[in-house]
Amino acid sequence: MAKIVGTITTSHVPAIGGAIAKGLQNDPYWKPFFDGFPPVRDWLASVKPDVVVVAYNDHGLNFFLDKMPTFAIGAAPEYRNADEGWGIPVVPPFQGDPALSWHMIESLVAEDFDLVTCQEMSVDHAFTLPMALLWPEQKWPVRTVPVVVNTVQSPLPSAARCYKLGQAIGRAIASWPGDERVVVLGTGGLSHQLDGERAGFINKDFDLKFMESLVNDPTWATQYSTVELVELAGTQGVELLNWLVARGTLPNKVRQVHVNYHIPISNTASGLQVLEPA
């Protein structure tokens, strides 16, 4: 049976793509962010995943507001990146795993998670940049399954619902008869707000409490409504819903392998955390 070997949760700010393209990893502004990743790559080399399930939000590449699924899952043989409008380089395509995708769809729908299924799907920076941070050579050694959460158009799925989706994904993977080793990658956040007079809002206390909660009290954030999460973490900080999906896939007891937090990259408090089953 397939096994979830751990989760990685990280910010996905578009400016990371520009920094990678310009080779700014050791620039003083960027170094505290990029320096968070070598320990994650070491961990990946030891756990050797076959598949990465990526929980993220699309920012208007694959989905527009004409059809906005609350939850969607990819079931394609391949996922391609494309121009998102502001010129960061497009990365090489990602191999899918349609058989595992369809197993997850069967299992999730049987548990009353009625996801939109996508046999064609573009993946945006929220998927591609975290992958490029994990595998800087951009030769992806894993198959992928995208899981898309609506963090764009309210009403958003609740934090509690996102956590439960993660739990159901965990059960779906555990019931897959293959022997794949799976990492779940959750992207976005942490606190930031791009829009309105409150632009530039960052909440370090909340972010640190949130990351700590994922280790010791994983449903802590589910006490909040999504609008309360906007108040605490900013309009785009609510992307932490993707972190809750990832965390939900792990058992209650976990071990923190690695953590990094830095303010700011672009307008965002960047977070990075690796957890594995205890």
């Binding site: 578009p14 400016a15 920012h59 208007g60 590449l61 527009f64 507001l65 004409d66 494309a82 121009d83 998102e84 409008g85 502001w86 010129g87 764009v152 158009q153 309210s154 009403p155 707000q193 791009l194 829009d195 309105g196 007079e197 409150r198 632009a199 530039g200 960052i202 909440n203 370090k204 409504s225 999504t226 609008v227 309360e228 906007v230 108040e231 309009t235 785009q236 303010i263 700011p264 672009s266 307008n267 408090a269």
Partner: protein, 118 residues
Amino acid sequence: MPSIKSHQPVPGTTIFDGEQARKGYALNKMCYSFNDAANRKAFLDDEDEYCTRYGLNAEQRAAIHARNVLQLIAAGGNAYYLAKFAGIFKLDMQDIGAQQTGMTKDQFKARLIAARGN
């Protein structure tokens, strides 16, 4: 039944809900089209014609013309789509943040760094 909290106000913040999504549909659809380089060029070649093609209302056209992010949000714009509009002019998120908060870019960047605290 749980209370519906999606209309609870957050200061300085417009929650992009159904009301905003309806109001801003044409504007956001135009911004979504800017994923395509040919459309970005078409906009720059004839901005008024491009706005007409997407059916923008007077408020949306004025906000686009002014490159004013707060006005664009008031007209129903969503941050993720507006970012594609801003990208045409090579504006980064600190430019946009500075404009919305009435700061200089350096002041806005200093405020972000101040969020580190101790």
